[in-house]
């Protein structure tokens, strides 16, 4: 096809109408689901770029902190106290990274009187690592939200759905690939990058300690087993807990003709407000809120208020039995399955925009 040379007349001399039928090619084995997932990763590099970007920020921040710290403080402590303005000898930042979406509560308290107990010191050493986990999980949620909003919308807007549908890949396969990406692939990528970042963070801390000498918390071991267990558990819990959120967004993206974000957010919000005005109740609002931020209390032992304002997070807070037996989890998954079924039905019928 190098040059469009032959005229239509020439074409006819090569009588294709008399050409014998070519023997049917042997059918090759195919993996439609695998390649559909690959396709999602090609189309949405944010799935790995966004967590990597957060990791890069954390590591650069830790490096800067390590370099600008002169003796006396380990990088762990430095990261934990990065938000404070007053000298660390007088105040300490307390940050609680709850694993239910990484709501981070920060407050600066005056440290007076007795030095911190060993428990408090252990918690402070672990804190930056939990903060990294929380930041990664928030990133995961944001990436998943925008992924799902485009999932069944973009292919209709750019009309590429006409290409996808010209291939023998069913709507069920396609939609399942589009829910597996935010629920399985993205969490796995996020967790791997989060753990790698935490190991790097630890190495930077150790290096800073080695070069700067004695650190305030250097004698306290980093509880790596707890950090990994909590990160992995939180990732799994959140992915399951948020499944109906993802499915809702995916369903709306398959339905909306424009502005899927607004269609996904405004109607539930409007209904919640209407309920409040009409009946004075807040069932829907609380339902939405618990779906967004309620995973923590469903999946973890809610710790007693810490004696000295320092939270402790660890393996002992993991309560898988409570999570697995919570109706919220299963009702959510059921709702997600229903909405995915609707999304499949919609993809079959909806035309390019």
């Amino acid at each position: 096809m190098s040059a469009p040379s032959s005229s239509m007349g020439d074409t006819m001399t090569d009588t294709p109408f008399d050409r014998p039928a070519s023997p049917p090619a042997p059918a090759r084995p195919v993996r439609p689901f695998f390649w559909s997932v690959r396709r999602e990763l090609w189309e949405n590099p944010a799935i790995w770029i966004a967590p990597l970007a957060v990791a890069a920020l954390v590591i650069v921040g830790a490096c800067v902190a390590a370099l600008s710290t002169h003796g006396g403080k380990s990088v762990h402590r430095t990261v934990a106290t990065a938000a404070q303005t007053a000298p660390p000898s007088q105040t300490t930042t307390i940050s609680q990274s709850t694993p239910d979406g990484g709501v981070t509560v920060q407050k600066v308290i005056k440290v007076e009187g007795p030095p911190p107990t060993p428990e408090q010191r252990r918690a402070m050493v672990a804190l930056p690592f939990y903060m990294v986990t929380a930041a990664m999980l928030v990133t995961m949620f944001l990436v998943a939200v925008f992924y799902c909003l485009g999932g069944l919308f973009n292919e209709r807007r750019d009309r590429s759905i006409l290409f996808w549908k010209s291939l023998p890949v069913g709507n069920l396969t396609t939609v399942l690939a589009k829910i597996v990406a935010p629920m399985v692939i993205l969490p796995a990528v996020t967790l791997a990058i989060a753990l790698a970042t935490e190991v790097t963070l630890y190495a930077i801390g150790a290096l800073a300690f080695a070069t700067h000498g004695q650190g305030a918390d250097a004698d306290v071991p980093v509880p790596f087993a707890d950090i990994v267990a909590v990160a992995a558990y939180s990732t799994v819990v959140l992915s399951l807990w948020w499944a109906p959120v993802y499915a809702w967004l995916l369903m709306v993206s398959g339905w909306a003709k424009r502005a899927p974000f607004l269609w996904a957010v405004l109607p539930p919000l409007g209904l919640a407000v209407a309920e409040r005005i009409a009946f004075g109740t807040t069932y829907l609002g609380r339902l939405i809120q618990s779906r967004l931020t309620g995973a923590g209390e469903t999946a973890f032992v809610v710790p007693k208020p810490p004696a000295h304002g320092i939270p402790s997070i660890g393996i002992e807070q993991i309560d898988a039995a409570k999570f697995v037996s919570s109706p919220g989890l299963w009702l959510g998954l059921l709702a997600a399955a229903g909405m995915i079924a609707v999304a499949v039905w919609m993809r079959r019928r909806r035309e390019p925009i």
Binding site: M1, S2, P4, S6, M8, G9, T11, M12, D14, P16, F17, D18, R19, P20, A21, S22, P24, A25, A27, R28, P29, V30, R31, P32, F34, W35, S36, R38, R39, W42, E43, E155, D158, R159, S160, I161, L162, F163, K165, S166, L167, P168, V169, G170, R349, E351
Partner: protein, 288 residues
């Protein structure tokens, strides 16, 4: 078994009837041109054939119901539904990987050989290609698929003349054989005139003309007559009359050429002339 068989195919939207009881039969190994004005129901018919939208009536494509058995059907059916619908973010190599990964009848070597003859690079993204190149890429993918039915809906819309010509030449020379069936719609009828074996006109959701090209030659005749023969020619009942260089050109349906030859210069009308006569004239109420 006919490749496509429809009886009473009907599709109504809220305010319009897009297909109004269409009967059609396309045998294997044919190249059918489906021609009609905008909004005539061409795309609606193709969407039904491709299982992209539900319909009323009876429809079988390769012996299957395209709406309920679409997933199986798409192994044997391929289509280009519009120009440049390949996803813009995709790399050429990814397109090859993907189609090879999901299509049991895709011959990757063939697609690559075809691409090697173009300016398209495997590392390019679709968004970096010109519209013509995107069409070439799509054609390369489609032609490497051993499908029984290929449907082309305005596959060359907006492309320049060279790409359009090349598109149909390649299709005919490198793809078509007796076991395949091609259905094509286009507004540039003169470009596909010579490759078609069958022709179908559709207007207002109805089939206006359904004929093989051989039958068309025998059935329709155009005569260029001078003023002296005009009255005699009009007496034979032309379907349409038009003026060309001061002479009258009359189109006849089913009138023996032997009777027309004495009246003037006889020839087979082009599809475009026929289209204007049968569909353009209908709107004006001039034709039968």
């Amino acid at each position: 078994m006919a490749c496509i068989e429809a009886r009473g195919l009907r599709k109504a939207y809220k305010t319009t009837v897009a297909l109004d009881g269409v009967d059609l039969k396309v045998e294997e190994g044919r190249i059918l041109g489906l021609i009609g004005p905008n909004g005539a129901g061409k795309s609606t018919a193709l969407n039904a054939i491709l299982g992209l939208s539900p319909y009323e009536g009876e429809l079988r494509v390769l012996g299957r119901d395209p709406w309920t058995e679409r997933d199986k059907l798409m192994t044997d059916v391929c289509f280009i539904a519009d120009v440049a619908v390949l996803p813009r973010w995709m790399k050429v190599s990814q397109a090859l990987d993907y189609v090879a990964g999901v299509h049991p009848r895709f011959d990757r070597a063939r697609a690559e050989a075809f691409l090697a003859k173009t300016q398209i690079k495997l590392a390019s993204k679709v968004r970096e290609l010109s519209k013509g190149m995107v069409t070439q890429l799509h054609l390369a993918l489609i032609m490497a698929i051993d499908a029984k039915l290929l449907v082309l809906d305005e596959p060359t819309l907006g492309l320049d003349l060279l790409y359009r010509k090349q598109f149909y030449d390649t299709l005919l020379n490198d793809y078509f054989d007796n076991s395949r069936t091609i259905v094509v719609t286009t507004h540039q009828v003169e470009e596909i005139q010579d490759i078609l074996t069958d022709l179908m006109f559709i207007d207002h959701g109805r089939i206006v003309l359904d004929t093989s090209m051989e039958a068309l030659d025998a059935r329709f005749t155009e005569v260029m007559v001078g003023p002296d023969q005009l009255a005699a020619a009009r007496g034979l009942g032309p379907v349409r009359e038009r003026q060309l260089f001061g002479r009258s050109v009359l189109l006849f349906d089913g009138v023996d050429r032997a009777r027309l030859a004495p009246l003037g210069e006889v020839r087979t009308p082009s599809i475009a002339d026929l289209f204007v006569a049968l569909i353009g004239g209908q709107d004006k109420g001039a034709a039968k």
